[in-house]
């Protein structure tokens, strides 16, 4: 698909789309339908304020604060709101916890539903037909393409985000991080580990 092959994409799509979107923004601005400064602010929000660092802070706190972990398991929408994370594409949140017996993976087979308030904008692979079609029938094969090979005894549960519930995977805390502060732990929590296509980084 287009973004899986970037060089090809440059040849065929980027320049016509650049012209098309510029023209559309010009029309919308002239007609009083959009304010270019508002568009700048939207872009800035997802470039600098709302991204996977939010979800990483939630995971690190869950690893270090058992009462918060219990709150997150019971009512994730309220738990993440208590840390200031709420809003668009994060209105209704559920946290799913990996265990030695079950690994969780999130997908949206019908579009690209993703917990924006916690992870920001979805990466191209998450929106790709390859991921959306395959992860519900052969998740281990897909995870292997991310370099993730799960133990045979760990089953896989795939959560298809077919409604407005948005899912955050809480990965297992890496060994060797006993006594670490939440800020240091958060640095280990990758975006992929919170979707289920990766694991947290292992401390060096």
């Amino acid at each position: 698909m287009p973004h899986d092959h970037h060089d090809h994409d440059h040849d065929n799509h980027l320049e016509p789309m650049d012209a098309r979107v510029r023209a559309l923004e010009t029309i919308l601005t002239r007609k009083g339908l959009v304010d270019p400064a508002a568009i700048d602010t939207i872009i800035d929000t997802y470039a600098h304020r709302v991204g996977p660092q939010n979800g990483a802070a939630v995971v690190a706190r869950a690893w270090t604060d058992p009462a918060f972990a219990e709150f997150l398991a019971r009512d994730a929408t309220a738990a993440v709101a208590s840390m200031g994370y709420c809003g668009r594409q994060g209105e209704h949140v559920q946290a799913v916890f990996n265990t030695p017996l079950q690994h969780n993976v999130i997908v949206c087979t019908l579009c690209s539903c993703y917990p924006w308030s916690l992870l920001g904008l979805p990466p191209v692979w998450y929106k790709s037909p390859a991921y959306r079609s395959r992860v519900v029938i052969e998740p281990r094969a897909v995870l292997a393409e991310f370099g993730l090979v799960l133990p045979a005894g760990q089953s896989v549960r795939v959560w298809d985000s077919t409604a407005e519930m948005r899912y955050l995977v809480v990965p297992m805390r890496p060994a060797g991080t006993e006594g670490w502060a939440p800020e240091a732990l958060a640095a280990l929590v990758t975006r992929e580990s919170m979707v289920g296509t990766g694991l947290p980084q292992v401390p060096a």
Partner: protein, 218 residues
């Protein structure tokens, strides 16, 4: 609708190929496309479900040959015309006469509040639940021509109710301007063998969030 968006279990799309250190946007126009899509949505002429339906009705050839922000942009042009905000002539010409601001035009100062509030889709219900956690259910073998959120790969299959999320806006109605028609939403769990026979990976479990009207007693 059994459209190009309904991808679960389809084959032939190749490897996933995640990109290392992927940038947030791959070109400046993608960022602008995101911004104008959200800003136009804030005008209030359509809802998220109608947006999704506009994307899935672009046609399979367009859908599969377009990047996701291209799909968004093409669907936005459909919605702008359908709701009388922009004409086909204006889009073709790439220009328009100046007009005074729309009363709900999103200004920069309102962006943080609008994004932080989002659009909650939960709604109170008076009817009591038809199903309880642990109940066995069968999804309807339904193939509506309009918008739905029951994927075809899960239609007509046995599952188990895991949780009850209460009332949520029903996309099948809301996408078509027929009202929110809230219904009860459940997480339903399916065994991989039930869904795929022995062509899925062993040990697989799948869940989806499905409205009560998608489900029958089993």
């Amino acid at each position: 609708m059994n459209g190009p968006q309904d991808l679960g279990g389809r084959m032939g799309f190749g490897p996933v190929a995640p990109e290392a250190n992927e940038p947030l946007f791959h070109a400046p126009w993608e960022a602008r496309a995101l911004g104008i899509t959200l800003a136009c949505g804030a005008l209030g002429h359509w809802n998220l479900d109608e947006s999704r339906h506009a994307r899935e009705t672009l046609g399979p050839a367009v859908y599969y040959s377009s990047s996701y922000y291209e799909i968004w942009t093409r669907a936005l042009m459909v919605l702008l015309q359908r709701h009388g905000l922009v004409s086909a002539g204006e889009l073709a010409a790439g220009q328009a006469e100046a007009a005074s601001p729309h009363p709900k035009r999103l200004t920069a100062d309102r962006v943080p509040g609008v994004l932080a509030r989002g659009t909650p889709y939960d709604r109170p219900l008076t009817a009591s639940p038809r199903f309880a956690p642990g109940d066995r259910v069968r999804t309807r073998n339904a193939h509506p021509r309009g918008h739905t959120r029951l994927p075809t790969y899960l239609a007509g299959h046995l599952g188990v109710i895991e949780s009850d999320h209460g009332g949520f806006v029903l996309p099948d109605s809301n996408a078509h301007g027929l009202g929110e028609a809230p219904g009860r939403l459940y997480t339903v769990v399916f065994d991989g063998v039930e869904v795929w026979g022995h062509d899925g990976e062993p040990g697989l479990t799948i869940s989806a969030d499905l409205w009560e009207g998608y489900l029958e007693n089993a």
